[in-house]
Symmetry: C2
Subunit: 155 residues, 2 copies
DNA sequence: TCGATATTGATAATCATTTTCAATAAGAGC
DNA sequence: GCTCTTATTGAAAATGATTATCAATATCGA
């Protein structure tokens, strides 16, 4: 069993799960790593397949349950994108928004948008008290701009 | 059978469906009316229940199929909100964004946001070519502000 | 009015997610 | 390191949402 250098994010997640009273198991560790390392939102089944490739014998149920716990601790978010509603992506620690590649899914967080005041004004005009907003950008990442349609979704 | 004054939106929708080669049937008409009249996004089952209340004997399948056609003609959009991903709401004819009440779901479209240029800049910084954005505001509508202020409880 | 056929609702099939449950393994205490 | 409690596991079954099948029906152009 080779020891691979562990992802910083999943290391942090393990500590947080542990502190929350959850146990760190082999399947859970594999799932954590996969989500933490991914540069794009993944579906439960995608996570399941990737986890199986690493250490066989992981059940899809365990994927769902692990996502549930990560969600509870606000370590991942559900991302809605191109019809998909159940893809999971590591969350940002501070309030940021996602920019997603429409071709390969590769995602980046960004911030520094100064629109809060505008949002409040819009709300006022319509009689609403604005309490939150949800913004997502879509586009083509650097690689996909070059290779255009030739590239398929990476595994 | 009393003749109720028909909603302007569903009237328009009937014409468009007809022009697209689809037939206008009783069940379809009921479903159109319900979606067109609704001030908030509805799930297929909600539409189904409301349609049944009007004219019994409508199948849930017909609801799905009608939504499908409305979607195809870009007359309704899927709205993602509070865990729900399959709620349907009449779309805006020009490019606008939704402001949704987190309590009752009542929704309004708004526009006039000048952030396109900012979005492009953000994309450039991250190496993306921004092609679209998705923005939704959440808040409390006028009515819900009143009924909420009386029992405001901090979490 | 007639007739081709799009549409219908009931039923069955599919797919995603959740629940159940006995076996297993994590990790705290010794 | 060893033991014991119990959280976690995977398989299988149950649930829920959506889609496909199909014979009967209703629409709408001719």
């Amino acid at each position: 069993m080779k020891k691979k250098p562990q992802n910083l994010i999943s290391q942090k997640w393990e500590i947080l799960l542990s502190q929350a009273g959850y146990r760190i198991t082999q399947p859970r560790r594999a799932i954590l790593d996969i989500i933490a390392e991914s540069c794009r939102p993944l579906t439960p089944v995608e996570i399941y397949d990737l986890a199986r490739a690493r250490s066989s014998g992981i059940g899809l149920v365990t994927v769902y349950r692990t996502i549930e716990k990560l969600e509870e601790l606000h370590l991942v978010d559900h991302v809605h994108h191109l019809g998909e509603c159940q893809t999971v992506f590591r969350s940002s620690d501070h309030h940021q928004h996602l920019l997603i590649c429409t071709n390969c899914g590769t995602s980046c967080y960004f911030d520094g948008l100064e629109v809060e005041e505008q949002f409040n004004q819009i709300g006022q005009q319509l009689g609403y008290e604005v309490t939150g907003h949800w913004l997502q950008l879509a586009g083509l990442c650097e690689d996909c701009q070059k290779s255009h349609n030739s590239k398929k979704v990476p595994e």
